[in-house]
């Protein structure tokens, strides 16, 4: 059964069509990487799924709850209560972390569980410490974000997303702001999440990582899905645009 169902989603910025009639099903527990050149619409797709952008058309259903439905060409969003329920099931990890600079690492993680999900402080703190330990940050709970390296910051932001126990976790280029060494550190963490059997949709430029970790790879170009298949299928594709994009990767990896 699909945990994310996207049908005919369209998104325009003024006259620029960023997403053109996108349809995609994500199965529960699946790990999907979305690849493509900058401006292909992959980040916008994640932003539509997390409601940071509103769509211009199409239907999005998340874990059985309809977020937006289009009838007579007009997208209609669900009631606030439904949207809030969807919000609690999804998490997003940003490219530039967006940690709250005025809170300690611990409070960055516990603030939402306490004030949004209604957990007790003890419960939220215990869970945050468990996550920090899992992500190798147990000695950082009292640090402020400005005292962390990029890799540590991104791991804290992953812990912050996990603290709300989402069913689906979206990653928007989680390593694009990091140097190769820190990239490896964050990718290891994401890899370690695969045994949580959580659904993950990862927008990334790390081809080797995408190939290794994903159940499926989506290749987007100019607002449409060009490829949708297993890593072997996509990396072995005969499609000229896919070959061109991956050709650059294959060359650079030699």
């Amino acid at each position: 059964m699909s945990i994310v169902s996207i049908r005919n989603v369209e998104k325009r910025f003024g006259k620029l069509e960023v997403l053109k009639d996108i349809s995609l099903e994500v199965a529960d527990g699946e790990i999907i990487s979305v690849i493509g050149s900058s401006g292909s619409g992959k980040s916008t797709l994640l932003r539509c799924l997390t409601r940071l952008e509103t769509v211009n058309g199409g239907t999005i259903v998340i874990d059985g709850d309809t977020m937006v439905e289009t009838t007579d060409g007009k997208p209609v969003y669900a009631k606030e209560a439904v949207l809030k329920q969807i919000r609690l099931k999804t998490g997003l990890v940003f490219q530039n972390f967006n940690l709250f600079p005025h809170y300690t690492v611990l409070r960055n993680i516990t603030e939402a569980p306490i004030h949004v999900a209604g957990q007790s402080r003890e419960e939220a703190t215990a869970e945050a410490r468990r996550l920090l330990k899992k992500l190798g940050l147990e000695d950082k709970e009292d640090a402020y974000p400005c005292q962390l390296s990029g890799g540590q910051s991104q791991r804290v932001s992953i812990a912050r997303a996990l603290a709300l126990k989402p069913k689906i976790l979206f990653f928007d280029e989680p390593t694009s702001a990091l140097d190769p060494e820190l990239t490896g550190e964050v990718l290891r963490v994401i890899r370690s999440l695969t045994d949580l059997h959580m659904t993950m949709v990862i927008v990334t430029h790390e081809m080797a990582f995408a190939r290794e970790i994903s159940d499926r790879i989506i290749f987007m170009d100019q607002g449409v899905i060009v490829e949708d298949g297993t890593p072997e299928e996509v990396f072995g594709s005969e499609n000229p645009r896919t070959r061109e994009f991956l050709g650059n990767y294959n060359q650079s990896s030699i």
Partner: protein, 216 residues
């Protein structure tokens, strides 16, 4: 001037400073929250809220404060036939005038917070009010401290303008005393009093900035 006269003058001026401090604190008490409210309205996407606020900002920042003081002192008499106390009129004028400047300072602070902060809060499920008060405002306060310090110091000095509507504050008492005693000393003493008040304001802001230095 004898030592006794000097001693008397000192206590007299200290008392007059009380009024200056009173105008200062009441202006901040009302002006700081009002400025924040106005800033939020100024950034509204509804023109019906935004445009009248822009007009208010233009009037308050575009006309002399001394004229506004006169207006709030005398207009009630011409419009509704009754007056308020001169001190109340002064505090009202200062509040409305300073709220306009505070608004723009808050706005620059709010707009300087990266969009990602708001987005991260939204993703985590915070309501708009939670996002504003927990995530945005604390960071805004840190960023607006330097320009606010400026504004506070200007306010200390601007309170002297209240003398045009006959409020017995430090400047008025100093000039009165000067002509009565035929001495420049009251004026110098008033200057020292203003200086001390602003030294305290400046120090307080220095401390506040230091306290918020733990993050960047």
């Amino acid at each position: 001037m004898t030592a006794e006269a000097l001693y008397k003058l000192f206590w007299f001026m200290l008392e007059a400073s009380g009024m200056t401090v009173k105008i200062f604190f009441f202006t901040l008490l009302f002006g700081l929250p009002l400025g924040l409210l106005v800033a939020v309205g100024r950034m509204s996407k509804f023109a019906l809220i935004r445009e009248p606020i822009k007009l208010y900002l233009l009037i308050m920042r575009g006309t002399p404060l001394i004229l506004q003081l006169m207006f709030f002192c005398y207009a009630p008499y011409y419009i509704v036939g009754s007056t308020m106390s001169r001190v109340s009129a002064a505090i009202l004028a200062f509040t409305l005038n300073y709220a306009a400047y505070f608004c723009e300072i808050y706005r620059s602070g709010i707009e300087s917070i990266p969009a990602g902060q708001r987005e991260a809060a939204t993703i985590l499920g915070f309501t708009k009010a939670q996002t504003f008060f927990k995530i945005i405002l604390p960071q805004v306060i840190k960023r607006v401290l330097p320009p606010m310090g400026n504004e506070f110091m200007v306010l200390v000095k601007d309170t002297a303008l209240a003398n045009v509507i006959g409020v017995a504050e430090l400047y008025q008492m100093a000039t009165k005393n000067m002509s009565r005693s035929a001495s420049i000393l009251p004026l110098i003493m008033a200057g020292v009093f203003y200086l001390i008040m602003n030294a305290i304001v400046s120090k307080a802001f220095g401390c506040a900035e230091k306290r918020l230095d733990y993050y960047s």
